[in-house]
């Protein structure tokens, strides 16, 4: 064997090793998710993008003629208003879920792991029934002849039934109990790993609990906060059924707008373009969020 052969074999060997060292594990770990996203998400998305540039035919089918009308159409104030309302609601939902979810997740995360798992399961169990049934039950609870009113009346605290159903209050409760796990689960996963010694160090250096919370706890659990904001905010953008069932239904959010396009008006191209818009809004917000909050290093995105 001459030396050039050896070099060749060596380089092949090196290549193989390099493959083994970097490519193989990367393929094994990131491969499935990459395939899944490409095949089951991006491929269908391509179709959605495609039809978003088509137009509706007379009977609600897709007419294969290129148009950008769907995109210009959504700039009408009606639709912008719908989008704005949706963002507002999502923001609001995220805020309460976080405010209530964080202390709750913290409480759970500080328990021994076995207890914590049980407590977590306790929040999840109610979600293993149908969400709609739960919302209706909440409605029954808050109804004029519902349990709460009857008890309050029996106690003599009120004479007339309280109007709870179809108010903003009940919508807030509904949103909260629908989205809370989305906030709590990522927070739990993140808070659980918070090392107590950092809290001790902070307290040792004279920081009151509130200061420790803002300066140490929050920054160190930021990845969990970010994840929970993402997991609450984004689905909330498209969520319309809580205000619809509990709030009296006089509401139009981007979620039911898109639904209407696909199911009622059968204007799929417009619905598709609205969906694309929703995705773009999300990506923009994430981008904005990472840039402004300087979260790039968090490895959360």
């Amino acid at each position: 064997m001459n030396s050039s052969d050896t070099v060749k074999i060596n380089s092949r060997l090196t290549k193989r090793r390099h493959f083994k060292r970097n490519t193989a594990p990367a393929l094994a770990m990131a491969g499935p998710v990459t395939f899944w996203m490409l095949f089951f998400v991006l491929l269908p998305l391509l179709y959605v993008i495609f039809i978003s540039f088509m137009s509706r035919d007379l009977y609600g089918g897709i007419a294969f003629e290129f148009t950008t009308e769907n995109y210009t159409n959504m700039l009408k104030p009606v639709y912008l208003n719908v989008i704005w309302q949706s963002i507002k609601l999502a923001f609001f939902t995220t805020l309460i879920c976080l405010l209530i979810g964080y202390p709750f997740a913290y409480y759970i995360a500080r328990k021994p792991s076995k207890v914590a798992a049980k407590l977590l399961m306790l929040i999840m169990i109610p979600f293993w029934t149908n969400s709609l049934v739960r919302l209706y039950s909440l409605g029954l609870l808050a109804a004029p002849k519902g349990f709460i009113n009857i008890v309050l009346q029996k106690l003599g605290l009120i004479s007339e039934p309280l109007q709870m159903l179809h108010t903003n209050g009940i919508v807030v409760v509904g949103l909260l109990i629908s989205m809370l796990p989305f906030a709590v689960l990522p927070l739990y996963a993140s808070i659980e790993k918070l090392d107590k010694s950092y809290l001790e160090a902070s307290s040792d250096l004279g920081a009151r609990p509130a200061v420790t919370f803002w300066k140490v706890t929050v920054p160190l659990t930021l990845p969990g906060i970010v994840a929970s904001i993402i997991l609450v905010f984004i689905p909330s953008l498209g969520m319309y059924y809580v205000p619809e069932t509990l709030g009296g239904g006089k509401i139009m959010l981007i979620g039911n707008l898109i639904r209407n396009q696909f199911l009622v008006t059968r204007n799929w191209p417009f619905g598709a373009s609205l969906s694309i818009l929703l995705i773009l809004i999300t990506l923009f917000m994430l981008w904005f969020y990472t840039r402004v909050a300087r979260l790039d290093e968090l490895e959360v995105f």
Partner: protein
């Protein structure tokens, strides 16, 4: 009565925290309690409490298909959860650890199934499955569920992974464990709380899904939520409540049985395993 100020403060703090947690649980469980109570309501449609009856359960008892729907739902949810957790956990670690060409694209595409309305995802998956000639039904539902569960798992996992000290992975490889062994024996246990959260999330999403399941379902794959929602349309009958109650009871029973089995197994095993259930 605790003697010292700090201890007293701590106790008070703990009481407040426990009270807060209980309040949350109350909020979450109140609708469930109502749901269960109204499953015994003697009324064709649930409007108010009208008296106790067992007839809805009787009715379901004679409906053999209920068991089938339950099975279908559970098998789908469990399969989708297992698949999502595997793909999601591996994916989260892979996406954090490695650089590759498609990484950014994959990262961003994760948000799509979360943000896109279920209708759109349902229809586009249906069209995809139709295109690749995948028969609708069981498998299709599982694939669809995995599609929207994986991003949730990954996002939770990344929150867990970020800032986690994984220098012990180096120690593991240094001691002769290959990447796979290291992943299973070191990385995975450290990620466990994230995995549990992700699994809960996936299971919940899957067991509660109606719209997407409905689009990609076939003749023999009606899930319980689909059945329930279909019932809701023809009246909010207590039967729906009874169904949902049965569903939750079955799952509770499953958990209980599982933990009993685990307890027995643990007694037999000599080494202590950090168990979460």
């Amino acid at each position: 009565m605790p003697k010292h100020k700090r201890e007293r403060k701590k106790r008070i703090g703990q009481r407040i925290a426990t009270g807060f947690a209980l309040l949350i649980y109350l909020f979450i469980y109140a609708p469930i309690a109502v749901m269960i109570v109204f499953s015994f309501n003697d009324q064709e449609t649930n409007y108010f409490w009208n008296g106790f009856t067992l007839r809805w359960y009787e009715k379901l008892f004679y409906d053999s298909s209920i068991v089938e729907y339950l099975w279908v739902s559970l098998i789908i949810a469990v399969s989708a959860t297992i698949l999502s957790v595997i793909i999601g956990t591996l994916g989260a670690v892979g996406l954090v650890r490695f650089e590759f060409k498609l990484k950014k694209l994959v990262n961003q595409s994760l948000y799509i199934p979360i943000v896109i309305p279920e209708i759109v995802l349902g229809i586009s998956l249906l069209i995809l499955f139709d295109f690749i000639k995948l028969p609708l039904g069981f498998i299709a539902i599982i694939l669809a569920h995995v599609t929207f569960c994986v991003p949730f798992v990954i996002i939770i996992m990344r929150g867990r992974l970020a800032g986690l000290d994984l220098s012990v992975e180096e120690a593991s490889m240094d001691l002769g464990a290959n990447r796979m062994t290291t992943f299973f024996r070191i990385t995975l246990p450290m990620l466990l709380p994230g995995i549990i959260s992700g699994a809960f999330m996936s299971f919940t999403l899957s067991i509660d899904d109606v719209i997407i399941s409905n689009f990609v379902a076939g003749p023999y794959s009606t899930t319980l939520p689909v059945k329930i929602l279909s019932l809701v349309k023809t009246g909010l009958s207590p039967e729906v409540n009874a169904l949902a109650t049965i569903m939750i009871l079955v799952m509770l029973f499953g958990i209980l049985a599982n933990s009993i089995v685990q307890a027995v197994l643990r007694k037999r095993a000599s080494t202590v395993i950090k168990s979460y259930f």
